[in-house]
Symmetry: C2
Subunit: 251 residues, 2 copies
DNA sequence: CAGTGGTCTAGACCACAAC
DNA sequence: TTGTGGTCTAGACCACTGA
């Protein structure tokens, strides 16, 4: 076993058994050097590893601290989509999030994994609608929501405008004769891109939790793919499980 | 911007635009040194970063390669649990996975996040049932499934045996008068532990996708928490979305 | 068996933030 | 102001594995 592995394992153990609790400062690099009889680079390799794993956060001048793990908040997904006069809702907990910056609408290449679902060639031009949802008070970003629409569907329509009006793109799609719309969604865990790490202010080592929702027309054509990304450390997604013939019960 | 950031960004860009495609070998460390005019350590810092992000895999003697991204396979969760003569099922796709090693049953401390759901003190002793499910042919591990049960419920019962008999712990719990059981589940993304990285043979930088299912008795007591972990790179979880009053439709 | 990545050292200077 | 982590260099030897 490499020496830095030994140092990392020793730190991991000390964190696991509570020797260093959340918020505590671990010994400074110089002390870890003499403690394990290794050079500073070796200590730094070990600390870098635990940092990437989300266990530590180095603070300049303040030492290296054991990260505080927040409790995850839950987003609950209902079995049925519902709507009111303002549009469709997928989340019955109805979080009061707001757009923390104006939506960005642009044309660009379809990412590989999205293109596959959207049924277009990877890299071909599609309409990309970016929103950042966050806390109404603090304006902290919470979710990055990106919609992708096929070019031939969106070109020259209100779908490509920043403001799509009441009910949003789904009402526009139904008005254009594609309805009644149908949706499905998958949950994915992935490493964040640099841009997402930045936008969500993620600590290194924290994965993304992604909800990828596909909108289809009544005849089965894929009209939109929405990729909603949030911190895997701060959020979890709850689903109901029903028993045959039983009534709904709470989570 | 630090120099290693520059090198990392340059490599990321080259991978994104296809200069280095999946499976390609990037220039060896020595070449990257002279290419960017930095020392070997700096090159290595950049490569370490992209490796942690899951973009590269260094191969001794074979150079450093751009990782092939596999397509994700889907696990579909139905809104209703169903059962046959063998027990309850939560996954209608009914994957033919098998236990790739005998289940391990032991008493141990409840992990912090599980204890919270189970309603016991973190670190207090609970029954832990570990299973590894995998491919019937290759016997590759696919899912790590760990069940936690409160000590007072499981002590001295068949629940603490390796073989719980036909229908497993759920049938035993219902026979003990706790039924009809109720379930709920949440999806979580998290960084894997060392043991999980090892058991699932995860590449560094790949997050875990976790299904945490809670079993409750008819009167609401939490009887079991199951933590099912799989590679976030290889799996996604699909959920049905129904429209009010509409018939089911496929994903 | 040789070339690649893996590890480690000793030393230097920088930059930020808490004091 | 100063102590902490952040970056970088030059050089050495090791260990695995694919040519």
């Amino acid at each position: 076993m490499a020496r830095w592995h030994t140092v990392a394992a020793s730190l991991r153990e000390a964190i696991a058994n509570g020797t260093y609790g959340p918020g505590d400062t671990i010994p400074k690099e110089e002390e870890l050097e003499s403690l394990h009889g290794v050079s500073r680079s070796t200590v730094r390799r070990a600390v870098a590893q635990l940092t990437a794993e989300g266990l530590l956060t180095p603070v300049r001048r303040g030492g290296t601290k054991v990260r505080e793990r927040r409790e995850r908040s839950r987003i609950t997904r209902a079995r049925t989509v519902y709507r009111d006069e303002r549009g469709y809702y997928f989340d019955p907990s109805a979080r009061p999030w707001v757009a923390v910056r104006p939506p960005v609408v642009r044309w660009g290449p379809a990412p590989h994994d999205i293109a596959h679902v959207l049924g277009v060639e990877p890299g071909s031009e599609v309409l990309i609608r970016d929103r950042v949802m966050g806390d109404p008070q603090t304006r902290d970003p919470i979710q990055l929501s990106t919609s992708y629409l096929p070019a031939d569907l969106a070109k020259g329509t209100v779908l490509a405008e920043a403001d799509t009006g009441s009910g949003g793109i789904y009402d526009r799609l139904e008005e254009a004769g594609h309805g009644p719309l149908r949706w499905s969604e998958v949950v994915v865990a992935s490493a964040p891109s640099d841009a997402d790490t930045d936008a969500l202010r993620l600590t290194p080592g924290v994965p993304l939790l992604r909800l990828i929702r596909t909108t289809r027309s009544a005849d089965g054509r894929v009209l939109e793919v929405n990729d909603c990304r949030m911190s895997g450390e701060r959020w979890e997604i709850g689903y109901e499980i029903l028993r045959d013939g039983s009534a709904e019960f709470g989570l």
